[in-house]
Symmetry: C2
Subunit: 199 residues, 2 copies
DNA sequence: CATTCAAAACGAACTAGTTCGTTCGGTTCG
DNA sequence: CGAACCGAACGAACTAGTTCGTTTTGAATG
């Protein structure tokens, strides 16, 4: 499954990534991680103190990749939403991992959580700048708008009706249509002065 | 925890509701459910065939309550979003339960899923009607819009940054502000012909 | 009102299986 | 040689589900 030429530590982390995303912290099996990593449990526990620590390491890694992948640039908020959507589609595991963490932990992410908070604050700052530049309606609370954009971009991943039976077929045409809807929605959200004076 | 005067079967179901919402299917403990229900395991297994069946029963119950609680009426889509938001705030357990089910099952909800699909289809139908009445921009694919509205209404529950440490303080003022943002967002989403001809 | 009796419920122990984390002898490789 | 690694096994803890003897309930009956 994951017998890359990489060193065992990396192979284990990579296998853990898939395992935790699929089954969560409680459902993940250490034996399965070791097996899929083509490594021994002895090695796994040589590198990671215990199951939960491995879980948190995986979570932090995912969040770092996410935070460096989907960034608000050029004050283009719709494009940002598109990037969020793309990341969610391409790395569905990351979204699942965040959900697992939210559900299974009592808030002791500490290291991983800081990554998320720092990322969030930075994007909020950029939204505020976009507002000053007139690209985003100034009446929005930027923190609220940020949350709403996340909600819109990940709407399809949390859709209760869409129970893609473990690994969606991911019809490219449907995905493109959804992406367009997300971007269109965000454009409507940020449109300046929808009622107020015409510039 | 839940020693209502009700019969054991109901007490068990109620205790299971809290247990599964908090810990999920894998994390829930049968012993804990029985204890909190002030019932014996012997009774639990007399009423429910096994753990997963109990989980699915709880899920279906939650979905039914949800489906009868948040309904699109009077072609008022923003009010519908408000109702969704209110339900999510008041019954955070239901949202958690849906997330658990999405993450922990391979799609074998069958009974519970039909409730959700039926509900979803009905609301989509009403959105389509609202479009015909000019209350919602006709250029929206109603299914897409439905998903987006769900995403907006539940944005705060899926917010990765907001790690309300198990049972949020739920500052009423902040909740009201979030509710207003959700409704405002949906109003912007559905506003007819933002660019097209002026009727 | 008192008695009876079967169903419902309790509680505690038990079975059988699973899983984390550890240990250890053997093997490869630098 | 020694460090890294594997594979296999093991112990301890935990947990779903079962069993069984006892107690409570509640309705019918005399």
């Amino acid at each position: 499954m994951a017998r890359d030429g990489a060193d065992p530590q990396t192979r284990i982390l990579e296998a853990a990534r898939a395992e935790f995303a699929a089954y969560g912290l409680a459902g993940a099996r250490i034996d399965r991680i070791a097996k899929n990593a083509a490594a021994s449990k002895e090695r796994l526990y040589a590198y990671y103190s215990d199951k939960q620590q491995l879980f948190l390491d995986v979570l932090e890694l995912n969040l770092r990749e996410f935070a460096s992948d989907a960034v608000l640039t050029d004050h283009d908020v719709p494009a940002f939403a598109g990037a969020l959507f793309d990341h969610a589609v391409l790395h569905g595991d990351h979204l699942r991992m965040i959900d697992w963490a939210r559900l299974e932990t009592d808030g002791t992410w500490l290291p991983a959580l800081e990554v998320m908070v720092g990322y969030r604050d930075e994007q909020v700052r950029r939204i505020r700048l976009a507002q000053q530049l007139g690209r985003v309606d100034a009446s929005w609370d930027p923190v609220h708008l940020m949350t709403l954009i996340f909600g819109v971009a990940s709407a399809w991943m949390h859709e209760p009706g869409a129970v893609a039976p473990r690994g969606a077929p991911a019809d490219p045409e449907a995905v493109a249509a959804r992406r367009a809807s997300v971007i269109g929605a965000v454009e409507r959200l940020i449109a300046p002065s929808p009622i107020g004076p015409i510039n």
